[in-house]
Symmetry: C2
Subunit: 331 residues, 2 copies
């Protein structure tokens, strides 16, 4: 395992510091809580949005902080839920009279810490709510999860809630929107390789020369089966088939589609997959109205992909199209 880092123990800190140094006007880094927060904060008193999963999924979530998106993210170490004090620190730093919403991917460890934090800060008079994300159709229960896992689909939940919060929606409404987008969102992934956590220094699992893990989790959790890599068209057929089998998307519907790289997949391959997905959905009479191709929620240096399909309503489409701004940008 070769990677660009200093000490493995400093991986997350060095990364967060890099994000802050790259965005001195807009972001603030609070090392004490692994917190990346908007400098401006939710200072206008609107609802505040916080996400704090493990690290190793960048750009999710420390790089999704900005106007119209998250107000802050307080990631734990690589693939580890944030400690309670991080969540408390982040919440106190970003509290507003309108309330705070935690956006939590459905993993037992994350849920537990955010539930504990909720009890503590509620006693401090903060109106705090939680929206759970569980878009991954691959498996029902998993290594770290009861129910479905939350993966790249959380981008859409954050984007829509961020737009609503930025527009001054009250907390009940922001929560309603988050739950509606999560309910309209399904994903599934496939790994070509394992990832190698910095502190471990070795792959979490091994795949053969032409083997893939279908339905892999973003922490390397097992999926549905090990199978042989087929063509891009066939890969998309399998992933879309699994997603649509558990999705209320029908002929005539409009969708948003994300083709998400898991960390080490070149963008040319992602566009090959997008082309397949677009055409296969068209053949099913489903129109792709918005598309997202790139790395959104990764698993360190894993080569692989996940596909996400969001069923669009007028409301969701409108919220997704509102302007927003985050560290990840081209220009």
């Amino acid at each position: 395992m070769k990677r660009f880092m200093n000490e493995p123990a400093d991986f997350v800190r060095d990364m967060l510091e890099g994000v802050a140094l790259a965005n001195p006007d807009t972001l603030e880094y609070v090392p004490e809580f692994n917190l990346i927060r908007r400098k401006a904060g939710p200072s206008d008193g609107r609802v505040s949005l916080i996400q704090g999963s493990g690290s190793g999924h960048e750009p999710a979530h420390a790089m999704l902080v900005g106007p119209g998106m998250l107000d802050g993210a307080c990631p734990g170490d690589v693939f580890a839920a944030p400690p309670l004090e991080y969540v408390l620190g982040a919440t106190r730093s970003l509290r507003t009279p309108a309330g705070v919403v935690y956006i939590v991917n459905n993993y037992t460890g994350d849920r537990m810490v955010f539930e504990m934090a909720s009890e503590v800060v509620r006693a401090e008079g903060i109106d705090v709510r939680t929206v759970l994300v569980d878009d991954d159709v691959a498996v029902k229960d998993s290594t770290y999860t009861v129910g479905r896992r939350g993966i790249a689909g959380n981008f859409f939940v954050i984007k829509a809630m961020g737009a609503a919060a930025a527009a001054g929606a009250p907390i009940d409404e922001v929560v309603r929107i988050g739950e509606a987008v999560n309910a309209a969102t399904r994903s599934m992934g496939m790994a070509l390789t394992s990832c190698s956590p910095p502190a471990k220094g070795a792959p979490l699992f091994a795949l053969g020369e032409s083997e893939v893990e279908l339905g892999v989790g973003i922490h390397g959790e097992p999926g549905r089966q090990r199978t042989t890599l087929s063509s891009a068209d066939q890969t998309v057929e399998v992933l879309l088939g699994a997603i649509l089998a558990e999705h209320d998307v029908n002929r005539g519907d409009e969708v948003a589609v994300m083709v998400n790289g898991l960390g080490a997949t070149p963008i040319n391959e992602l566009y090959i997959l997008y082309g397949s997905a677009h055409k296969q959905l068209r053949e099913r009479g489903i129109q792709v109205r918005r598309n997202y191709v790139g790395d959104y929620c990764t698993s360190l240096d894993m080569a692989g992909v996940s596909i996400t399909v969001v069923k669009l309503t007028d409301e969701i489409e409108r919220l997704l199209s509102e302007p927003a701004q985050i560290p990840i940008r081209v220009f």
Copy 2:
């Protein structure tokens, strides 16, 4: 080598089709010439900008087409210069009375085909010019190059020329700006792994468990030396040291810095490197005014990085900050 594709021979076509399907309102795909062009074209009669290197470097260059950037790109096959007819087709498709400028990375094959094309279209009455990009300080002559190679720094040349062309600058001025930005831009890269061209199906070269290729080319060309991977801080020190040794950047100067992934490097590692670069430049009294962190010019599935430093003048800074739009986007 596992990757998401259909037939290796269709790799480029499938990717370009995917790009076009993802951008139906703004881009047009002309399969005959591997051409991705702006639908609107340079229809307002301003100078037109075309880039056509080999494929495999995405987002460069087929994904850099849009308002304020390229008018079209007609890439050859993976790592291969475009055939003459592609360049002729692209030029005729995008000609305007104000003229056409080719932005060509300094590789012998690319230079040859664009020189041949220039002769042909000049005879057709098109005012055509060429701006060469040669930002890579690693080696003087290389496998496919006389002089320095052109790598990720070409993003800045395209961006500045695109802004000038969009503002209606005459062709002499657009060319002057391109040459000025190229002269102000220096880069160098490092590979952690080789890349594997789809048609070959195997790595171009081999690196040991902790070995890196310092100064690698974006087609896997050898660099300055094979050495052992050290820390992120030390890696940046070596790359920045080499760049600044051949750059007129001094204490008090302002620069733009790009930390460019070569295809399989996760964004968290790129931000670790960016943090190092920012701090090391600051220690040298050099201020980073603009930063670019992500994949801009890749080498297929190579894990690695290049760093680019642009010395900013008021003019370059202004052109880099103009709005522009390309397929690669987050929202």
